[in-house]
Amino acid sequence: MAVETDTSPKFAEYAHPDRLVSTEWLAEHLGDTDLVVVESDEDVLLYETGHISGSVKIDWHTDLNDPVTRDYIFGEEFATLVGSKGIDRNSTVVIYGDKSNWWAAYTLWVFTLFGHEDVRLLDGGRGKWIAEGRPVTTDETDVTPVEYPIVERSDVAIRAFKDDVLEHLERQGVLVDVRSPEEFSGERTTAPAYPEEGALRAGHIPTAHNVPWAKAAADDGTFKPLADLNDIYREGLGLNDGDDVIAYCRIGERSSHTWFVLTHLLGFEGVRNYDGSWTEWGSAVRVPIVQGSARGEHVSK
């Protein structure tokens, strides 16, 4: 049984209102049967310093990525992971995290690769919960492990690989580069103040629009209202319903946030996240790259 949706007027405007819950809603529903609250942060220890009572932690790096191959975990590992967190296939999963839900959106996107149906974000994330003076605890959550079925990961609909991007370029598909302007132009290969993660070339994929991911977030970490998002993506980029879009960043985390906005808030159906992103493209042999702040053109082969 899914837990009831949050009927806040702000969410009702979005394409999929059932993908968001407010801090008020979560405070009221904590402890509901069938609800599991998950924290996903950039910092692997932040959860331990204090988390929402009853929540469990899923770390983007140590839990969701395969430790050897550059890929996500597979169905069996996912079943073991989420089952150990008390999540079953019918659970309502609400994810929250630091930095405007940057990493929470990434975890939600990976849940979607496994077709977990009812997965939502806490609007405003960890920051808003704490700013409102809501309680956190360092008490360890008492989890009863459950059985989660082994579901094969399905990448096709929402994940793009390098070859998909090359094909997308040939078809003049829309690309959204959600990195900082400095990374887009090629002045640098990492986000300002972030560590070097190894790309050999700097710049962006030809024709990509540059819309830094955080443009979709308000100062308090919540998603901007629908009208603002329409201004940014529909008016700003000329996106229309039915457009195929691929979003990318450096390793696919910031673009998960944009993927969430385009898919669940604006209702675009053909949005994929290219998780190889710049750390792959910027090191790949003979793929086209444009430097400077102009989008550049794709020259068909």
């Binding site: 910092d43 692997v44 220890l45 932040l46 310093t49 430790p67 630091d98 560590p195």
Partner: protein, 146 residues
Amino acid sequence: MTDTELQPALAEIRDDFLALTMKERLQLLLEFSNELPELPPRYAEHPDLFERVVECQSPVFIFVEVGDDNVVQLFATAPAESPTTRGFASILAQGLGGLTADEVLAVPDDFPQMLGLSQAVSPLRLRGMSAMLGRTKRQVRERMHG
């Protein structure tokens, strides 16, 4: 790398980590994080003296003091929202503080990799600690010749 080359305080920290399970190692890192001391008043007023470790994801600043007796102290500051980075800084502050400048320079560069944390926090995050160690050594060299 043999034990004779690792200073006792660092060896003890390493042994403490290695004796624990993965989950307990994270808890120990959190304890280190909580133990990172506040800056002494003479530095609290001087953010300009501190060097940002840009390789770390979160804002962390370090300053190395080399005393007349050639003894090193490492001071660091990082926000409470960055417990992992605080933990790394605290390990180095505790492990390097009180060593002579030459002893600090002799600390193996791969000390962060000896703590058994790669699996618990990911190798990517551990790079931040290596960068902190590298910058600490560079500051020691500068103070020695300065």
